[in-house]
Symmetry: C2
Subunit: 313 residues, 2 copies
Amino acid sequence: MASNWEEFYSSHPQPANLSKNEDLLRDFTARHLNGDTRVVLVTSGGTTVPLEHNTVRFVDNFSAGTRGSASTEYFLDHGYAVVFMHRVKSLQPFSRHFTGQKFLNMLDLIETKDGTSVTVTSENIPKIADVLRKYKSALANGKLLELSFTTVYEYLWLLRSACQILAPLKEKCILYLAAAVSDFYIPPNEMSVHKIASTKPQTISLQLVPKILAPLVSLWVPNAFVVSFKLETNKDLLIDKAREALNKYKHKLVIANMLQNYRQKVTLVTQQSSYVIELTTEQSRIGEEIEMYIVKNIVDKHEEFIADRSGRS
Amino acid sequence: MASNWEEFYSSHPQPANLSKNEDLLRDFTARHLNGDTRVVLVTSGGTTVPLEHNTVRFVDNFSAGTRGSASTEYFLDHGYAVVFMHRVKSLQPFSRHFTGQKFLNMLDLIETKDGTSVTVTSENIPKIADVLRKYKSALANGKLLELSFTTVYEYLWLLRSACQILAPLKEKCILYLAAAVSDFYIPPNEMSVHKIASTKPQTISLQLVPKILAPLVSLWVPNAFVVSFKLETNKDLLIDKAREALNKYKHKLVIANMLQNYRQKVTLVTQQSSYVIELTTEQSRIGEEIEMYIVKNIVDKHEEFIADRSGRS
């Protein structure tokens, strides 16, 4: 069991784009290593588990990427530099406000004899200007690095590399593990090479993905502030499951939430306590996001954590 | 076996938004029933098969929605009215050109003492103006109706309703079934209510989804021009599988494509013949899309089909 995760890595080859992503992570870390800027790695979106080597079908985990992409914006507001590690095509910070046809519906086409121009309609300018200003500032200041994954294998390889490269930031670094990572997978030697024929019913055997929080907390980023998420559908299990994870992996915080109301309510569970954050009806009505309050809380806890470490040393 | 699909519908309750979608389909059909406008129902994107009633995990089918969303634009170019029935968050016509951060990267923020404005950068105006013009025209002329689904159950309910409501258009109507629909499902009584615990390996039993092309062609839209798609990963099976589908369901055309090169090459298979459409390297280089050629071909075949029907009557 101890080397479970090592076996997992050795049986899944490293993704083709990993070294390129590692180069980007090294540049990003170097930029923020000496200085006061705090750093957070946000993971976001679901991971896939292919059923076939030539993948037509896959098992996926529910996650639009709302939590991770919204939280990234709020961390940037607090001055953090963010590595946003997200599922391909899940929501991204800033552009998340203008998905699908929303963006085209905000544009006016102006055709005159002098030529054609395209502008944002006046009623949409305040919102888009605010988003655009923040987005351009994050890029200009080198504060946002976006990396992506699709399968659970790509996720795990990229996560390990990111941890190892960010590790020198020590207590300045938060890991905010909001991605919905598959707990199950199909070993490569049990996968069909081609699309499974739809001629008869099928049985799929799923093995357990090793719990990666164990090496992450104890080996890869032993000095970072690690926050994990727990999503359940049965409220009787939620807090016990969160506490169980804290006892097992010895990290700082679990953000526990229910599928049914994860955008309105979360419970922040630490070794010592638990604390509920819940949007009021009025806060929801005026469009406030719970991620603003979650991130504010994490930033305060991170501040205490850094002060505590400095006091000790 | 004959009533297989009827049992399937009776064991999966109708989606909450179905009547609203049926109203939109009725308005759309009424608008185009008397007149020369031809109509196409385009299905697009993958369908999900939930593993739990409170769904955290699901099986999905590979499809970004490129084929369906691109084809929709080309059908509109040919004067067709389009019902675009797509997976929630898959690519949509027009906005598909500006996904993720692409759109924010095209905008300039201009802040002066007179106020703030946001414009599209000059180098991006030609492309966006062209897309915007077509999008606004399609909406203004009532030529585009967008409906969405997520699960295979929602897809099948919506597809049947759409067929039944579009049926009076007879031979004026094309069904262009580009969605990647699950061949498998889990019967409701075998599904877990809550999120499956990740404490031990799992086995999932998948049953066959009934082949809906059978009632669709023979009962729901017996006079329409029906085009289905066949995606394979093994080229030795591709054409045989397409021919097999045509023999079984008696529709007009199968567009056969390989996962590995579906954006460069397709084979149009009819009862009598098969015909390859393949982009040249030069066509790919200048950004041409294979859907332009596929749709042109289908529109010609639809024209012949209508002429043939009129000749007979």
